[in-house]
């Protein structure tokens, strides 16, 4: 490859036998090939070893009921992760007296992300309540938490889904 070896001495016209002159150089090409192969292998295996993580900090449980902050209805915004990658959302609270206006969207960039951004414009102090349905998959949870990072939503909480929310989804038929 990189080395061109001179033609071996053919001995001329059958005359005197001469001691063959060997080159003192050795062909290093195979060794270099191997060295670089190993180098590439080890370089690639080291770089990809460490996985990425998303940090999730849960609130410390407040024992004292009075010190827990109450959420204002005007600031509340609920996202429910349903089955089959559906996302339900409504603003405000949901109770038996006043049914919330439930809407459905998806996890795409024009789905829930736009909804959150629109909501942030209307109410900058929005607190998002994330409620995973029993049939939601872990990927949905990561996606929603990721959307919180993307939209720079600072206040959000992962809470258990209430029965009234489940009923709301059933009743809406979405």
């Amino acid at each position: 490859m990189a080395e061109i070896q001179g033609k071996a001495d053919s001995g001329g016209k059958g005359g005197k036998k001469r001691a063959k002159k060997m080159s003192t150089k050795i062909d290093m090409t195979p060794m270099v090939d191997l060295a670089f192969l190993l180098l590439t292998f080890f370089m690639l295996t080291t770089t990809f070893a460490k996985p990425n993580v998303m940090q999730l900090t849960m609130p410390v449980k407040e024992k004292n009921e009075d010190e827990q902050t109450k959420l204002k209805e005007s600031e509340a915004f609920t996202i429910i992760m349903g089955e089959n990658n559906k996302v339900y959302y409504y603003a405000g609270m949901n109770s038996a007296e006043s049914k919330a206006d439930l809407k459905v969207t998806d996890y795409g960039p024009n789905g829930i992300r736009q909804v959150i951004l629109d909501r942030q414009r209307v109410q900058p102090k929005t607190v998002i309540l994330i409620k995973p349905d029993d049939k939601a998959v872990y990927k949905n949870m990561v996606d929603i938490l990721d959307e919180m990072n993307i939209t720079n939503q600072k206040k959000y909480a992962l809470v258990k889904i209430a029965k009234s929310d489940k009923d709301l989804i059933k009743a809406s038929g979405l």
Partner: protein, 209 residues
């Protein structure tokens, strides 16, 4: 005017410095690489835009696969063995030195403590064969072995290395949320409120404000 003779040089070039460097790098990477140990379960993690890296050491990994099974693993071998003895003592299960050594080489496991002894006595191939049928570590309110493993691993790591541990949750994309929430709930009862969710990296989208 005399003819200008082209200077004849040999086309060979001295590769020695390059080879030196290549071997230096090979040696460096060989010594620094820590091979990813064999996984008991295959987990397809979801992707996120977070670019924070998992800490290098003192990590407890809780793996959740799509069949709701939970696997426990801690990175350091010494911590592992110390944890095994503590948890074994708590449940009245004794492990031989060979079993403890086998446990040190195990990335993670997903069997109740009663079955752990027989799992550790197997050789690597047999263990691989039963990996699919490992039931996962129980963590319901009646039989919560997971929290014992986590707490003992934290204590062992703290006494061995004087460092706090990170809790990493490695969930499959299709794993169900109630299982993950159950893990979080169980750990929160012990005042562990920080979690690292292991994800793949995806590109950060541009957000229109």
């Amino acid at each position: 005017m005399p003819k200008v003779k082209p200077h004849r040089t040999s086309p060979s070039l001295d590769m020695t410095p390059m080879v030196d460097l290549a071997f230096l790098l090979v040696t460096f990477f060989m010594l620094t690489t820590k091979f990813a140990p064999e996984e008991t379960v295959v987990v397809d993690t979801p992707s996120s835009t977070s670019d924070i890296k998992l800490p290098e050491s003192n990590v407890i990994t809780l793996t959740v696969d799509k069949n709701k099974r939970v696997f426990f693993g801690v990175d350091d071998d010494k911590t592992k063995v110390a944890t095994l003895q503590k948890v074994g003592a708590k449940y009245g299960v004794n492990f031989s030195a060979a079993q403890a050594k086998a446990f040190g080489n195990l990335t993670n496991f997903g069997v109740p403590i009663g079955q752990l002894g027989s799992l550790l006595s197997m050789d690597a191939d047999a263990r691989k064969a039963v990996a699919k049928s490992e039931p996962g570590i129980p963590m319901d309110s009646l039989n919560n072995q997971l929290i014992d493993w986590v707490m003992e691993a934290r204590k062992a790591n703290l006494s061995l290395f004087k460092k706090q541990t990170f809790i990493a949750i490695k969930g499959d994309g299709q794993a169900d949320v109630p299982t993950v929430q159950q893990i979080i709930k169980v750990l929160q009862e012990k005042d562990i409120n920080r979690f690292n969710l292991i994800t793949d990296l995806e590109n950060k989208p541009v957000v229109r404000k």
